[in-house]
């Protein structure tokens, strides 16, 4: 069994981005989805600091501290881009004008509750940022996260144990070993990595898993991690 690496997870999530979508990509794995949008599609990457139409990272010669995305990365603008202020950017997000947001997460519950902002590290300050607005207001909320914690504990749960980002918001979860939808019936596995049985996956989950009648193999092309 070969779980997807972090870039492969981003690749898999990016395959679900449809032509013409307005997409907001969270820090970490999600932001890498921008590199794997299917060829021939044109999408609008919304960055909550007001960049509407974020392009690839700037090379050294063009890096500009005034042209950054929500992750403080120095970026370029895509053709057709514009820049608005933060109040207008969150008006866009809150008003439901972002088709999909792809967020990192710590935990997702079977009712779609999302916990992605507070791991309860003693005395470390809270880091909410724009996650609550995105989770509550994007038309579709997708999550990229490993299926299990580093210690092997479950991240798919009946109820989140960590503080919520928003209730009932997650639609789809892209993990290293499965793609899981959140439905009215709970978790439904759409794709599972080859070599992992349904029983093994269930054993690693903190909540019941249903399996789609057309459940397929989760596969991604080889993508090397930069530090690998």
């Amino acid at each position: 069994m070969q779980p997807l690496n972090r870039l492969q997870m981003a690749w898999r999530a990016a395959q679900d981005i449809e032509d013409g979508m307005v997409v907001n990509l969270g820090l970490g794995m999600p932001v890498a989805c921008g590199d794997y949008v299917r060829p021939g599609l044109e999408v609008v990457i919304q960055s909550e600091n007001g960049v509407i139409g974020a392009g690839p990272l700037a090379d050294k010669a063009h890096a500009d501290t005034d042209l950054v995305d929500a992750g403080s990365r120095r970026i370029t603008l895509a053709p057709g881009a514009s820049i608005i202020d933060s109040a207008a950017s969150f008006a866009m997000i809150r008003g439901g004008h972002v088709d999909a947001t792809i967020l990192g997460a710590f935990e997702v519950a079977a009712n779609g509750d999302l916990a992605n902002w507070d791991m309860r590290i003693p005395n470390k300050g809270p880091l909410v940022g724009g996650a609550m607005d995105l989770a509550a207001c994007a038309k579709s909320v997708w999550v990229i996260m490993e299926f299990n914690t580093r210690k092997g504990g479950p991240r798919l749960l009946n109820r989140c144990t960590l503080p919520l980002t928003a209730p009932n918001c997650v639609r789809r979860i892209f993990t290293d070993v499965a793609v899981v939808d959140v439905t009215a019936e709970g978790f439904v596995v759409r794709e599972i990595v080859a070599g992992l049985s349904r029983e093994e996956l269930q054993a690693r989950s903190g909540a019941p898993l249903h399996f789609a009648s057309d459940c397929r193999a989760l596969a991604a092309p080889e993508i090397a991690l930069p530090d690998a």
Binding site: D66, L67, V68, D85, P126
Partner: protein, 223 residues
């Protein structure tokens, strides 16, 4: 007299700012921090401040100097986590109960400022509903959804970074430098902008991003 909001020094830019002031500081992700004015405020020693800034701990914002100098009694922000594994100056003070903290979702933070400048005392938002950030806040259902009541933020002072100002106080920004600046400029009793260039000639009307009506003083700091 011709309107001319340009001032020549940080002393003039901050004249009249009192202890206990609520200070709105713009900036996000390295763009739009009014660091010359923030440092001048620290050197001035104005204390007991309420700092309204998206991040309490961004490395590129000198707001951390205000915190380290013990001048801040309360922070309103959307992010207050230090970057290092150890505790930041803010986190040390917070742990010891020496600084008050209010955390808002970033969109709510921005909208509270916009509301403060727009004469809206309170509004309902879906963001934060069902989370601990809504604890104790009024919740109300409209249609088939629950919303949280949030109230406006108004500052005594806004410190905003822009690219170009003219003598009327009109501002234009470079790229993503605007972020919280436009909303903060409207939401403070005294708005001071630090800019690369402060010119006598008007910024062409279509290039003005913040009307001078909202800006009281501008200080050219170059680069």
């Amino acid at each position: 007299m011709p309107i001319d909001k340009r001032v020549a020094s940080t002393a003039e830019a901050l004249e009249g700012v009192s202890d206990g002031a609520t200070v709105l500081c713009s900036g996000f992700g390295g763009a739009g921090f009014a660091n010359v004015l923030i440092r001048a405020l620290r050197e001035r020693g104005t204390r007991n401040l309420t700092l309204v800034s998206n991040s309490a701990t961004h490395r590129l914002s000198l707001t951390h100097e205000l915190i380290e100098a013990g001048l801040v009694r309360k922070v309103i922000c959307s992010a207050a986590r230090g970057h290092a594994p150890g505790l930041s100056a803010f986190e040390e003070l917070w742990k010891d109960g020496k600084i008050e903290l209010v955390v808002l979702p970033q969109g709510t933070f921005a909208e509270c400022l916009r509301a403060g400048g727009a004469g809206i005392p309170a509004f309902y938002t879906p963001s934060g509903f069902g989370t601990e950030l809504a604890a104790g806040k009024e919740v109300r259902r409209f249609g088939d959804r629950d919303y949280v009541l949030e109230t406006a933020i108004i500052g005594d002072l806004a410190l905003v970074r822009a690219d170009v100002a003219d003598r009327w106080g009109n501002l234009s920004f470079r790229h993503a430098q605007a972020n919280f600046g436009p909303a903060m400029a409207t939401a403070a009793k005294l708005t001071v902008a630090e800019v690369r260039v402060a010119q006598a000639e008007p910024i062409p009307p279509a290039q003005v991003q913040v009307s001078g009506v909202f800006v009281n003083r501008v200080l050219a700091v170059g680069g």
